[in-house]
Symmetry: C2
Subunit: 290 residues, 2 copies
């Protein structure tokens, strides 16, 4: 409920979102979501407007929800309830909801999300790095909730590596539950693939089946750390490294071949990052002087 | 206290260890440790013999200690005490002790290890994968114990990647304590370098200082995931990938240059692994038939 550096005042944000929803309504690969940041930075009125917008365009509603203890405490103080309860009362818990994080969540809230058909995006490494905690993934899965894996952004994840995210999601729950079988390689692979497609409302992606889009990543299986290969899925989740992906195909088109990205100039991007870094350092230096 | 496929009956194991201790007593790079497996697979008598041997040769005593709840329960049932207490009473807690894991350990046991000057080797990813739990690293560090990082073996770790181990060690404690500052990149870097050297009794390794051995690993900083670089230590712990190490020098000699290992033939090793895999599969197939 305050101006954003991206779009200026609040009304402009809602207007921009609606324009994007119209522009990309029939785009085969781009899906626009309505994304109010959180329940503690947006008023219930703003959230309601967002929910209406997502309803009108059948678009996903993307919101950071129940990420950490501070959020739970703040929403409880302001509204006397858990963020999931509040969002549900505002009409936001349904099949369009992409609830990101859901770390601080109990059986009651899981039940609300399950009944509404909401999808959860879990970002385990970001939750760890920021000291938010650990989302109850095994509970979510056994409650029948569609949970997808995300990396969150570079500020709280650093490497944006989905293979590493699968590995962390798996290892942490085995360790915390003291049960190596509580979450399987198959579970986390599904979270990274088909559940992601379901969460983002792409019904024809996320699986290798006739009629589905050809979204492929090729791993170089000759690497030392991928020997021996008894179980391809376990190999992928527990041993493979992102740098060993040699080719990537999106909807039938290669965007990376033999470790070379074909659609963008990597060196140019790295140069640009260096420029921005120097600008940031200059600003910080000036601030120190003042 | 039972025959091993490696050396046959128990007495032969002790004899072999003593022979190795004599053979490598003045080797510059190889250090032999006396390593009884655990307190639940070795009798107190065997442990005592091992402790004496390590004392006689000033050699490290390497033992898996307090790894999981089953071990705690079993030792308590047999001996009425915690494994650390038992080992201490047997005379095994001193500066030579390399106590591996120490997951299930409280303030009392940490005090025993600290007073004895023991070193702990923590293998966070193995502890997670096996469902053992999470070792209290921040507590160990603030208790002043020398903790080093290990990967454990491929059966419980898969990737044997020390960079990933640093990242996991750091992330998990930030998340569990809900405090992103509870363990720093500097802490985990020290665990992976100088503490490792201290633990293994190599007084002139683990730091880049005059008089120390030149043990170096070179990272290719031009990779996308290593941009931008504001803090090299944070970059190394949170973003760098093992596959981006291009050169490795051990004691002044390169053993890897430009991603090529110079001391062994990688393809030959991969071939050998495939042969062994086929042998194992053949044995399993025969067992199924029976």
């Amino acid at each position: 409920d305050f101006p954003s550096p991206g779009y200026g005042p609040l009304e402009k944000g809602l207007k921009l979102t609606e324009e994007l929803l119209q522009e990309f309504s029939r785009h085969p690969k781009i899906k626009i979501a309505v994304s109010p940041h959180t329940l503690y930075t947006c008023s219930p009125e703003t959230i309601k407007k967002c929910i209406k917008l997502s309803e009108r365009y059948s678009a996903p509603l993307h919101i950071h929800l129940a990420e950490n203890s501070e959020e739970i405490a703040e929403i409880r103080q302001r509204h006397g309830k858990h963020p999931v309860e509040l969002l549900s009362e505002l009409g936001g818990v349904n099949e369009r909801l992409l609830a990101v994080h859901c770390v601080k969540i109990g059986d009651k809230e899981l039940e609300i999300l399950y009944r509404g058909g909401a999808r959860v995006i879990s970002c385990p490494e970001s939750n760890l790095k920021l000291g938010s905690g650990v989302a109850p993934l095994p509970k979510m899965l056994s409650a029948g909730i569609c949970v997808a894996l995300g990396t969150d952004g570079p500020a709280s994840n650093n490497d944006l590596d989905l293979l590493s995210e699968m590995r962390t999601a798996s290892l942490i729950h085995k360790g915390l539950a003291e049960d190596p079988a509580i979450i399987s390689a198959k579970d986390v692979f599904a979270m990274a693939t088909e559940n992601g497609a379901l969460a983002l409302h792409f019904p024809d992606t996320g699986k290798l089946l006739p009629g589905y889009r050809a979204d492929l990543a090729v791993l170089d299986l000759k690497k030392e750390n991928l020997q021996p290969d008894y179980n391809p899925l376990a190999l992928l989740v527990y041993s493979a490294k992102a740098g060993q992906v040699s080719d990537v195909m999106v909807d039938g088109e290669f965007i990376m071949r033999n470790h070379q990205i074909l659609t963008v100039d990597e060196n140019l991007i790295i140069e640009k990052i260096h420029e921005i870094k120097e600008q940031i350092l200059a600003v910080l230096k000036n601030q120190k002087k003042m």
